[in-house]
């Protein structure tokens, strides 16, 4: 390795180590200094805006304005002419397999199964690990997949799902188990659309599973932190009262963790709606595994010239599905507010 880069990149280094924290600290100290010079009466009105301004500015620039542009674009064609709902018609026509419907269906699968699996596993692992003395080790191990980049995650799961014809030595872990332990024919996990339990196509499940594997560390860490926030004496008291562990979980732990579960759940629902990386790398939406974000990406970047109009319509559909989640959050938010 060539460490002389350290010298040539000195300005960057200085900016990173000193400049960035200095700018941030100077902003808030300076802002507060200005607020204090205001008359007492005006401070409460001005102060919050000083505190939220940097966040709002960044978010406005990177997310709000592009999103607003997208909404406008979704009602226009690629030359900027107003076309009302034509783009939405393209995406929402042809139910159940035309337009974006396969993607909508698969996003629904993601929404349900991805969220449920990640929440349930995260909660289970957090609660179980809390009771063993080697918690830190197992937690680190479960967290490990989070540290693996999504490119590598896809490679790993391609190894897991690899297929060789029946009778041949299998190179995929799952097919190896299937053929040696369960004496069944290997399956093409990523291509096989056989529904599981009459509902979820196997390949969708396989792709979702890979994504779940990569993100469970996230829900486990946050839920575990919330679990640690529950005072130990409360649990001890419940144990002394003779409550079983399952009762304690149901009646004490879970209700106290509820606000965190809502936060993690909301985040996961949104991650599910935005699902892209895994699908893009594994199938690019082939074999009926498409999702909205991937469909949008294809229209934007794998379509020449880019089809902004239809991509925007897909994005707006995606954004619209978030609204119920937001309403739920608003109620939760107000409930917490009312309680204090």
């Amino acid at each position: 390795m060539d460490w002389s880069v350290l010298l040539t990149d000195l300005p960057t280094l200085v900016a990173v180590v000193i400049g960035v924290p200095a700018v941030l600290a100077a902003y808030i100290v300076g802002g507060e200094y200005l607020v204090r010079r205001l008359p007492d009466k005006n401070r409460p009105a001005v102060r919050p805006w000083i505190w939220v301004a940097p966040a709002l500015l960044l978010v406005a620039g990177f997310l709000v304005l592009p999103a607003a542009g997208t909404i406008v674009q979704s009602f226009q064609d690629n030359r900027g002419n107003f076309v009302a709902f034509t783009n939405f018609g393209n995406q929402l026509g042809g139910f159940p397999t035309g337009g974006a419907w396969i993607a909508i269906r698969d996003n629904l699968f993601w929404l349900i199964f991805y969220t449920l699996f990640v929440l349930a596993f995260g909660l289970l692992l957090a609660v179980l690990f809390d009771r063993v003395p080697y918690e830190k080790i197992v937690k680190s191990l479960i967290f490990l997949p989070m540290a693996i980049s999504s490119v590598a995650t896809v490679i790993i799961w391609k190894f897991m799902y690899a297929y060789q014809p029946p009778g041949q030595p299998q190179t995929g872990t799952l097919n190896f188990l299937l053929s040696t332990v369960f004496h069944q024919d290997p399956r093409t996990w990523i291509q096989d659309t056989t529904p599981i339990l009459g509902l979820l196509p196997l390949n969708n499940l396989a792709i979702i599973a890979a994504a779940v594997w990569g993100i469970v560390g996230f829900s486990m860490v946050i839920l575990s932190a919330a679990l640690k926030g529950i005072p130990g004496d409360l649990l001890e008291a419940a144990r002394v009262d003779g409550a079983g562990e399952i009762t304690i979980f149901r009646r004490v732990i879970f209700p106290l963790m509820m606000p965190t579960v809502v936060v993690v759940g909301t985040t996961l629902v949104i991650f599910a709606l935005k699902a892209f990386d895994t699908v893009y790398a594994m199938t690019n939406g082939n074999y009926d595994t498409d999702v909205l974000a991937n469909r949008m990406y294809k229209l934007l970047y794998q379509h020449f010239p880019s089809d902004y109009a239809n991509a925007s319509a897909v994005a707006v559909i995606l954004l619209a599905t978030v609204i119920p989640v937001l309403i739920f959050n608003l109620r939760q938010f107000r409930a917490v507010e009312a309680r204090r």
Partner: protein, 433 residues
């Protein structure tokens, strides 16, 4: 008191930061630089750097090379934002053609030596470089690949006494012989992540060209020939003959076909005992053979024969593909570089390192590192009917539908009629925008 000292400390550090950064601004070399974006990574990147070394050494121009396989998104964004690289090379002309049509790239007619180009490079490549049809050259091709090569393990052929087929019939016969020997003749691998299906589309387009000739081929990718027309349907059916009923001619059948990555497609050729004897892939695949087994010797451990001609009238027809260059900013440095890239000398450097073929007839056959690449180059030079990859020339929607249709056909050949009908439906829309 505390906060004021804090503020003072901050002011001092900030001043220090700005002083440092102001002094540290780096200057670029006097000769300037060229920003280049391409998809060559890994070993290919090293080869490209080797190509560029004489250029940068002699001119003093620095090369800012950016390699990414997310080129579609990256280049689209850069161009839309008004910050394109000076030069970009793409493995297919689709993206660059789009930029040519929207006026984002510069014409090269006055940049490169047109007379030399016309004398050294076949008309196929020059026509391809003029996608707007007004005589303006927007793309040049530095390196190319030959499609429709059937790869096999000579040792296995010898052991079984199989001969390289020299006609379509003898290919079908060989296929039958291998099958009766208890092994599947073919390995086919269609999985390619985001682009799954394309290796099968190669089969179909090669058959179309060899079976029905260049004008059907051109009409077809231009959207003037229906997918349900007898010629195109016949090509699919011919491929179906290769696959066999229920894909019985292919190792592992449809499941293995759709789930095996194209990069691993040839692997079963070399297993002991071999799981298949033949594998159709473009010339680049030798790099994968070589990375899977660095000891393998070209010609001895693996070899190829061109897909035999189907209709004698169109004998010697080949599907080709290539790396296209376009120029987004006409800086003197970029112009110098693209001029350099069109020279036989530049192209020969990579040719010598293996893995690429030059379209330039001034690159001597001796420069090819082994007999195998030499014969590839020879075929290319002697090609009577060279046609560019039809899929890459189709509109995106059409191309994607084509690849998707390959996957569907591989899984169920019986659906051919409905598959072709739905391709026609896409064709009706895709060419209008």
């Amino acid at each position: 008191m505390r906060s004021s000292s804090l503020i003072r400390a901050l002011v001092v550090t900030m001043a220090a930061v700005f002083a440092t950064v102001a002094c540290g601004g780096g200057g670029t070399a006097n000769a300037g630089s060229v920003k280049v974006m391409a998809t060559w990574t890994g070993v290919e990147q090293a080869s490209f750097m080797a190509v560029m070394k004489p250029f940068t050494d002699s001119t003093g121009i620095t090369l800012q090379y950016e390699a990414s396989r997310d080129q579609d998104a990256l280049l689209t964004t850069r161009v839309a934002a008004g910050n394109p690289p000076d030069l970009a090379a793409a493995p297919s002309p689709t993206l660059l053609t789009n930029f040519a049509k929207t006026g984002k790239v510069k014409a090269l007619n006055n940049v490169v030596d047109m007379t030399a180009l016309q004398s050294e490079v076949s008309k196929t490549w020059i026509d391809l470089g003029e996608p707007t049809g007004d005589g303006k050259l927007y793309q040049v091709f530095s390196w190319v690949a030959l499609k429709g090569l059937i790869w096999y393990d000579p040792k296995n052929f010898q052991a079984k006494g199989y001969n390289v087929p020299n006609s379509w019939d003898s290919l079908l016969q060989l296929q039958q012989t291998i099958k009766s020997g208890g092994t599947t003749p073919w390995c086919i691998a269609l999985e390619s992540g985001a682009a799954s299906g394309w290796p099968g589309s190669d089969w179909v387009k090669e058959i179309v060209l060899s079976q029905s000739g260049p004008s059907v081929y051109d009409n077809w990718w231009q959207g003037k020939q229906k997918w349900t027309s007898p010629e195109i349907k016949l090509a699919w059916q011919t491929w179906g003959q290769i696959l066999g009923a229920n894909d019985a001619n292919v190792y592992g059948g449809s499941k293995t076909m759709v789930s095996t990555n194209f990069a691993d497609g040839g692997t079963p050729l070399f297993q002991n005992p071999p799981k298949c004897y033949m594998h159709n892939q473009a010339s680049f695949i030798t790099a994968n053979f070589q990375s899977a087994d660095p000891q393998a010797v070209a010609g001895t451990d693996y070899n190829f024969f061109p897909l035999p001609d189907i209709t004698s009238q169109f004998a010697g027809a080949h599907v080709v593909s290539g790396d296209a260059w376009s120029m987004f900013n006409d800086t003197p440095q970029a112009e110098k570089m693209i001029k350099y890239l069109t020279t036989a000398d530049a192209q020969a450097i990579w040719v010598k390192r293996g893995g690429k073929i030059s379209p330039d007839n001034k690159v001597p056959l001796e420069d090819y590192p082994d007999a195998l690449s030499k014969s590839t180059a020879q075929i290319l030079v002697q090609t009577k009917i060279g046609k560019y990859d039809a899929g890459d020339l189709m509109p995106t929607d059409m191309k994607n539908a084509y690849w998707g249709a390959v996957l569907k056909f591989a899984q169920n050949q019986g659906q051919l009629n409905s598959i072709l009908a739905s391709l026609d439906a896409v064709q009706a829309k895709a060419y209008t925008s």
